[in-house]
């Protein structure tokens, strides 16, 4: 004989019991998950560097160091500028003294422990500057190798580091083929360029883009066909760095040369 009390108890239990798997259905609703996945983010940040316009003044490097609190005199930088000098004998000389923070004030090439190399003007075939920064790869090896997931990619394509979670193993530093990463001298965690994520997500431009007096650096959204940066990438001849690693870099270069490393 079922009492009312018992009946209430049993039905509550039944409802509760059914609610658990139903709740699971709600949490793991595959339809919603896949909709979220298929729904393409409206934004994918990309960068465009016009090497024809770069004069190696280093304003961008300075602006970046100040904006992103990388100690001014530390020998690391989120972005840097390289100088390439190709001489008549076919040799390529490259340098980036102090990451080009102070620009290129001397004509001699900085060869680190081998000292300075003087090159006569008449020996030079061509010379140019190439700004570098994180490529915010579409297939980022740095994210793949992080053992704790402290390095991750946002839906709009930027790769970020969680300073509070990084254990400082350096695997990502080793994994990046572009030598972009380093350990922050103060925070000790892995550090890299993030296109000034704090600025671009507020509608501002990256600090280096603002600082460049010649418009050599531009940032844009490749998902927006009307974006001038997108238009250039789509309609002109652009190149990326070290494509052979399969990282799908998202910093595009105009005026790239085969000497660039």
């Amino acid at each position: 004989m079922i009492t009312r009390r018992n009946f209430c108890k049993k039905s509550l239990l039944l409802i509760g019991g059914m609610a658990v798997p139903l709740a699971a259905l709600e949490i793991f609703n595959p339809g919603r998950l896949s909709a979220e996945k298929d729904d393409p983010a409206k934004v994918r940040w990309v960068f465009l560097v016009d090497t024809f316009k770069c004069v190696g003044c280093g304003f961008c490097v300075r602006a970046c160091k100040l904006e992103n609190e990388i100690p001014y005199d530390a020998n690391v930088s989120r972005t840097w500028v390289e100088r390439y000098v190709v001489t008549k004998d076919g040799q390529v000389h490259t340098d980036s003294p102090k990451a080009a923070r102070d620009g290129f004030t001397s004509k001699s090439i900085d060869q680190a422990s081998r000292g300075l190399l003087e090159i006569k003007d008449e020996d030079i075939d061509k010379a140019f500057f190439v700004p570098k920064l994180c490529n915010q790869c579409d297939n980022p090896p740095c994210v793949q190798v992080c053992p704790v997931g402290a390095t991750y990619q946002t839906p709009d394509g930027v790769v970020l580091v969680d300073r509070t979670w990084c254990i400082g193993c350096g695997y990502c530093v080793m994994g990046c083929p572009y030598g972009v990463r380093f350990f922050h001298p103060v925070y000790k965690a892995a550090e890299k360029c993030n296109f000034c994520y704090h600025r671009i997500s507020k509608g501002l431009k990256s600090a280096c883009v603002e600082a460049c007096p010649f418009g050599a650096r531009r940032i844009g959204n490749i998902k927006d066909p009307e974006d001038p940066v997108t238009r250039i990438i789509m309609t002109e001849r652009v190149a990326v760095l070290k494509e052979e690693y399969g990282t799908k870099p998202q910093v595009f270069y105009l005026g790239m040369s085969r000497e660039v490393k």
Partner: protein, 417 residues
């Protein structure tokens, strides 16, 4: 100062952020895990394949492999920028990373070794505890030992013929299971390097296999040398006892047993050595033959900058000389000592040439980096990632082994199966 700047010297064009970030501790890490895996494989040769001649050294190398275990993760922790966050690798592993598997592989392996050791010594624990229980009055030390051994039995007091047989079967099974896990533990250390596509020297699918072979070589070598050392000490003690009590068996018996063990074990050493060298040379030849883009800079690192480290120390002193020493007829203990020490040096240099050599050139492929090992520590960083940090890691297993030897009889044959 930026991390890495102290010990890195740059030459020609190196990207501004590039330094030698993986240093001596990352050399120690595969070296130490290699010793763990190698020692375990050696002990399994007896337990699984029943190589009778290895009986004495098998128990010994099992205990040694256990003592080495905690030391495998020490260098990893010491090299982290945030050693106290190291536990995150276990708590929030990110499984696309090779390092994330460390927690799982390492714990599995640790449990296997501990369980096997327990089965081997269970009879001894029970007997000792029972003996101590019989005493009506126990001194403080005896009381502590009694509690310790009672706990170590884990409540399994049955040492009848039947249950001991079961123990033996368990040991065999665990040893068999342990071999692939030990190989995995170490092969995966190789995978950590071999899968870094950004590094031209590291990236090769052969890396895990090369690592396993050289691991076994180094593990066997270390077991031989430690075995000889402990036997010498025992002989000295025995000789001293003999003086007071001439009735004891003569020292010659110990001596001949020792030489036989060493000869037998060194045969396995040579076997794995050949395998390791073959693979390493294959890798080298293949790189030279295919000569992809990075070969230019690799060649100048291998044949020029690191020539002495690679060809003179690693291959010459570390492989060729011991090879000759072991293959010459009538092996003596002294020759075995020199040989095994050189083998250990060779394997260490191989790790060095992989880890440091892999960072000797910039990923711009247009410049070099030179590593200067910090000797005298003037900061925490130069201690952790300097000579003294490495020595600390190298010394720890011997301390642990000594401690372990206080608890279980690693040498006397009577008490174990």
């Amino acid at each position: 100062m930026v991390h890495g700047e102290v010990w890195t010297a740059k030459e020609l064009f190196v990207y501004p952020n590039e330094y030698i970030y993986w240093t001596i501790q990352i050399v120690m890490y595969p070296f130490m895990t290699g010793l763990v895996a190698g020692a375990f494989v050696l002990s399994s040769l007896y337990h699984v394949f029943g190589v009778k001649q290895l009986k004495e050294i098998a128990r010994f190398s099992l205990a040694f492999s256990f003592a080495l275990l905690p030391v495998a993760m020490m260098p990893l922790l010491l090299h982290l920028q945030f050693p106290f966050r190291g536990i995150e690798v276990m708590m929030t592993p990110h499984f696309t990373s090779a390092i994330a598997a460390f927690g799982i592989v390492f714990t599995t392996y640790g449990m296997i070794v501990a369980a096997e050791l327990w089965f081997v010594y269970r009879k001894f624990f029970v007997e000792t505890a029972l003996e101590l229980r019989k005493l009506t009055v126990r001194s403080f030390v005896q009381q502590v030992r009694y509690i310790l051994y009672s706990v170590l039995t884990l409540g399994a007091w049955d040492i009848s013929e039947h249950s001991l047989e079961k123990d033996e079967r368990a040991v065999k099974m665990l040893a068999g299971l342990g071999i692939p896990v030990a190989c995995f533990l170490h092969g995966y250390a190789g995978f950590i390097f071999g899968s870094v596509k950004a590094n031209a020297l590291w990236m090769t699918p052969l890396m895990p296999v090369i690592f396993i072979c050289s691991a076994v070589v180094s593990g066997i070598a270390l077991c031989i040398i430690t075995y000889i050392a402990t036997m010498e000490i025992r002989k000295a003690i025995h000789a001293w006892r003999l003086k007071n009590n001439p009735a004891l068996p003569s020292i010659e018996e110990l001596k001949s047993a020792e030489l036989q063990d060493v000869t037998m074990t060194s045969r396995y050493l040579v076997m794995f050595l050949i395998l390791a060298i073959t693979l390493e040379l294959l890798d080298l030849i293949f790189r030279g033959y295919t000569a992809v883009k990075s070969w230019d800079i690799l060649r100048s690192v291998i044949y020029d900058k690191d020539f002495f480290n690679i060809f003179v120390i690693q291959y010459g002193m570390g492989n060729l000389i011991p090879f000759i020493l072991f293959l010459m007829p009538r092996l003596t203990i002294r020759r075995a000592v020199v040989g095994t020490l050189l083998v250990l040096l060779g394997v260490f240099m191989m790790r060095w040439n992989v880890v440091i050599g892999g960072q000797a050139f910039s990923s711009s492929l247009a410049g070099f980096m030179h590593y200067h090992l910090p000797i005298w520590p003037d900061s925490l960083e130069t201690f952790k990632e300097g000579l003294f940090g490495a020595l600390l890691v190298a010394a720890t297993p011997f301390v642990l082994f000594w401690l372990l030897g206080r608890i279980i009889p690693i040498f006397s044959v009577k008490n174990t199966h």
